[in-house]
Each structure stands twice: as structure tokens, then as C-alpha cells.
Subunit: 267 residues, 2 copies
Amino acid sequence: MLVPVDPRKPLSLTDADARPPRFTPKGDELHERLDRAVSELGDLQEVIYADRRFAILVILQGRDASGKDGTIKHVFNACNPQGCRVKSFKAPTAEELSHDYLWRVHHAIPERGMIGIFNRSHYEDVIVTRVKGLVPRKIWEARYEQINAFERHLTENSVVILKFFLHVSRDEQAEQLRERLTDPTKNWKFRAGDLEDRKLWKDYTVAYRDALRKCSTRWAPWYVVPADHNPTRNLLVTETINARLRKLKLHYPRAAQEVLDLVHTIR
Amino acid sequence: MLVPVDPRKPLSLTDADARPPRFTPKGDELHERLDRAVSELGDLQEVIYADRRFAILVILQGRDASGKDGTIKHVFNACNPQGCRVKSFKAPTAEELSHDYLWRVHHAIPERGMIGIFNRSHYEDVIVTRVKGLVPRKIWEARYEQINAFERHLTENSVVILKFFLHVSRDEQAEQLRERLTDPTKNWKFRAGDLEDRKLWKDYTVAYRDALRKCSTRWAPWYVVPADHNPTRNLLVTETINARLRKLKLHYPRAAQEVLDLVHTIR
């Protein structure tokens, strides 16, 4: 299982860190464990929905082609779409830009009983915004603490937050981007801007490293997921979510005796 | 496969109509066909998402405990949650009530590329509203045509609409409601109001029949789904959706040649 990013320690994000760690299973064992984990998450999701005490927020960040879409598809495969909502954050609209950067994010927070999945998030406001110089340094530098305060507020109000950075190597990204151009069923995923971002690889690494360290908190930890190998990536994300959810002591709410007695009145 | 409700013909909604029709498969054959259909819908959903030309709207209506939740869970099981959004319509809030009844519905219409699933819908505004006498007859009577015009507008603007009425028998509903009280993991689904609604069975039948006949249109047909047997219900819904989606001639968008050539610049 993954351990949270420790803000007091340096954070390595080299190509080697993108490969499956030694402790993860391989081959059939990997796939069996993945199937079990995905199916357990499906069971947990049902209880979360019935229990209605917690909202679960899973944030996925990562470079282009790091596998955010694939992670969503596979990890939440056994979840009922009724209890699961994905929000993809794109470049902000004119209306969104005329608000503070957390406005649209707050609006998209899942309600209690739901699992919300953010495909990108407010972290773009300290990553792409910083790398591209869209706002002055003073502005983005203040955001780490604002984000920590915002997430703290959420976790104090029944939102359980898990944040995953899907870490791919430079070679794996090249491989994936090439596939988008050579596989006709993947052309639609290609964005010329991805190649521009690729040229800024090191700047992004610095921005990600700062965001992960400054915003990995007790209440909303960041996990770095070695993401070069898809099934391993899916297993690590799923097992980390499951371990957190198990701690919530979820249960199906029981009806009161006078309600249960109504069973005799049904004709 | 199901045929649309014909507005010019009388519509039978007896208990017998809730049983699996003769033409549907049974046993292993049923389950194999269901697996295939669900998996085909998953494939179709991927192309819809990539293609981005159509929004798909699936409306589910039915009495309490008719299996709306179970249908969502099973039919859309192979769909990526990222391309699939479920909206459950509850009793309107104070804000929603201060708007026209289609306001909240319009807002929830899926965008192109998405499958939207409505668990209940604006049809409640001609069903429960009518049965409970929440507005005068003149008001709800005018709504059938308003709904037809609204749905026509949507279908003329890239929204593909399929409407399913999950038809259960009176015995099957009793069975399901009893289970909610005897199975501790289902208590949370029980609502005492369901028993009140059950007493109004015939009034609801009249209201459903009118809604289905008056609003089954060329552009947005209603289907009555025999819903006493879950796998049969799921098969009929899935195959009907698939047949409609196949007609859309969906395809993965191809990139232009100058974009495809960028593959040689990736290092």
C-alpha cells in the first residue's frame, strides 16, 4: 500500500519512481488482487451510499497521458454510477474566472453518501498556473495554505479526501502520446498542447513536487502512485482507498422497531 | 426487444404485463445475452464520449421498489463513470419550486458525449403531482404538451431520449417492500410514504397510463418494461438502448494529417 507524502522529507520524482515498486505483486497474483480490491470498493461504495454520513473525494492529478482516465475506468468499475460522480476540471470559463479559484471546486464537492472523483482539480491553480506564469508568484504562493485550509474545512465537515498523483516516466509519456496518434480510436484524446507541456517537463516536476509536499496534510494526504504499469497503478490506488474507507466503520442504517413492524401491514 | 408505446392504442398495465414476455430468453441464455448486451453498451458509451456529437438521456420511471436503482446498477455496469451521470429527482426544493417545473430538469440534461440517467424526472410532475392533487387539473393537463415540446427541442439539439417505465405487479412490489424491512442491509431504502402510495395503486396506474400514452412521441418514445424479473428487465432495457445507439453511426473522430505527423516530433 502507498504511504502519504511526508512534507518534512525531500520528494523524489525520478523516472525510476514511476516503475512498479518491489512490494507489488505481478502476473496472475496482481490481477487477482486487483479484481478483489475493485470488487471490495464496489461493496464499500454501496454502504457509503446507504450510510450517508461521509462524502468521499478522490482527487487525481498527473501529467498528460499519465492515466487519469484509465484509473477512473478501472478502479471504480464495480461502483454503482448512482453513487459515484466524476468531475473533470478544464480551463476555467469566463464566469469561473470572475470568481476565486476554489468557487467552482466547492460547488463540485460530492454530497454525503457519494464518491466524487476529480479528474484534475484546484491543484492546477498551483501547477499549470505556476508553470505558465498565469498569475504572479505572490498569488500562487499564497494558495498552498488556502488549499490546506479549504481541505481542512471539508474534512471537518464529513468529506474524506484522498489525493493521488499519477507519476509516469518521460519514456512512458512519450509512448502514450505516440499511441494517441497511431491508434485511430485514440486520436480524439490528443491535444497539440500536450507536446508543449512535455517540453516543460522539469518545470512541471518542480511545481508538482511543491504542491505535493506543501499540501500533504494529516487530513488530506497526497500519495505518489508509480504509474508506468497500469494494473499496478490501479491496484495501489484501489487498495489505498479501501484501507481508508474501512476505517470509517461504515454501516447500513437500521430502521426503528415501529417501522420494522410495518411489514405486517403490507397486503 | 421492446416496442414503443403507441399513443393511438389503449395501454394495458395489468399484473400479467409485468411478467417476462414469452420472447425473452431464460436461464443461462438470458445471462449470457445480458452480459453481452451490458458489455456492448460499455463499448458504445466509449465511442459516444469520444464522438461528442450526441448526448444520451435515459429516463427511468416506475413505482416505489420497481427496480430503478437496480436497473442503473446493472445496465450501466460496463460504462465508464466519467461518461455517465445519474441524476435522482427528489421532491423539489424551495428554490426549484419558485421556478417552472422544467427548470431543474433542463439544467440536469447531459452535455454532448455523456450518457445522463434520470432516476425519476419531470414525469413526476404529471404523476405524483396529479395523484396527490398538488396542482389544479388545468395545470397538470397542460403539461403533457409542454413536455412533448421540451423533449422535441432537446432531440432537435443532439439529445437522444429513451424513456422506460419499469412496470411491476402489485405482488412483486409487496415482496420488495417487505424485503426492505426484513433485510437489515435494505432498511435504509424504506420510506413509510411508499405504503401510502401503494394504497393509491389504481390512481397511479391511471396517471402512468396517461403520461405514457400522451408523451410517447416519435422523437422520445416510452417503453413499458416488464419488471417483475430483474435480469429480464435489465436485458430488455439494455438491448433497447443498444439498438437505438447503434443507429447513430457513432465513430471515433480522426485527427488531421498534420496532427498525425506530429508523432515524429515526440522525443
